[in-house]
């Protein structure tokens, strides 16, 4: 029983590791956000509920974006003023978005994400 549990948690860990590596790899290769890869994989491959998938993806993105922004900052590519102009209003937006998310059905979130993926796929080829 213990052995089965251990195997299960090891498999879970491997899947999480694969999702993280895939999210990072694709965002490094194509410049797409890691969330577009991580959310569907958490939902479809880990059996996450839609809200938990979105929440956990945001947590992971915090780490990745902080590291990537710091690296780009060292190269002098980051414009602090412009970042604040779009980023600070967005903090207000994310409070609205997470509030709203608790009040919609999880299938609505899945449909909205499917639409987002379709748009991102087209944008990836036509640019």
């Amino acid at each position: 029983m213990d052995e089965a549990l251990e195997r299960l948690s090891r498999e879970r860990l491997l899947r999480l590791a694969a999702i993280g590596s895939a999210g990072g790899l694709f965002s490094g290769l194509f410049g797409v956000g890691g969330g577009t890869v991580m959310v569907p994989l958490l939902l479809l491959w880990m059996g996450y509920e839609a809200r938990a998938a979105a929440a956990t993806s945001l947590g992971a993105i915090t780490l990745t974006a902080a590291f990537a922004a710091a690296t780009q900052g060292l190269y002098g590519n980051v414009d602090l003023l412009a970042g604040g102009l779009v980023g600070l209003p967005a903090v207000g937006g994310v409070l609205i978005g997470t509030w709203l998310q608790q009040r919609v059905h999880s299938d609505t979130i899945a449909f909205a994400f499917a639409a987002l993926l379709a748009v991102a796929a087209v944008q990836l080829v036509v640019r």
């Binding site: 999210g23 980023g87 903090v91 979130i109």
Partner: protein, 134 residues
């Protein structure tokens, strides 16, 4: 930079935050066009600045989600740390691989994920309606 541009950039920022909270994405899909088209940044600067804007959004969003009981902190930590390594590898590979071919392949993969998510949504919806009906 006029008042109109500032307001438009702010409005797109709010929209990026809302989609970030709803869908669990960083919001770069809206930040980057706001930074290039409205605030006039070059492409590299816009991508980099977008990453900076994502940090407070994702952080505040994660804290809110934690209080709603949706955030799995340890899972997020594993994914986040490995994705840093993945991103470094991705940037390196982008310089040696035929990116256009990969881009088309990845777009097809995304469309396939979209199809599967749509089916998952339909299944959840049927289950929800069946539950509500009886």
């Amino acid at each position: 930079m006029g008042v109109g541009e500032l307001l438009l950039a702010g409005a797109i920022g709010v929209a990026a935050g809302i989609s970030s909270g709803l869908l669990g994405i960083g919001g770069g899909i809206l930040f980057v066009p706001a930074l290039t088209l409205v605030l006039g940044l070059g492409h590299v600067e816009a991508e980099s600045t977008s990453l900076l804007a994502i940090v407070p959004v994702a952080l505040v969003g994660s804290f809110r989600q934690r209080s709603y009981g949706n955030l799995r902190v340890r899972d997020a930590g594993v994914i986040g740390l490995l994705s840093v390594g993945g991103a470094v590898a991705g940037v390196a590979l982008a310089n040696v691989l035929p990116v256009l071919v990969l881009r088309i392949g990845f777009a097809l993969l995304m469309l396939n994920l979209a199809r599967q998510l749509f089916q998952r949504g339909r299944r959840d919806r049927r289950a929800r309606l069946a539950g509500a009906g009886g």
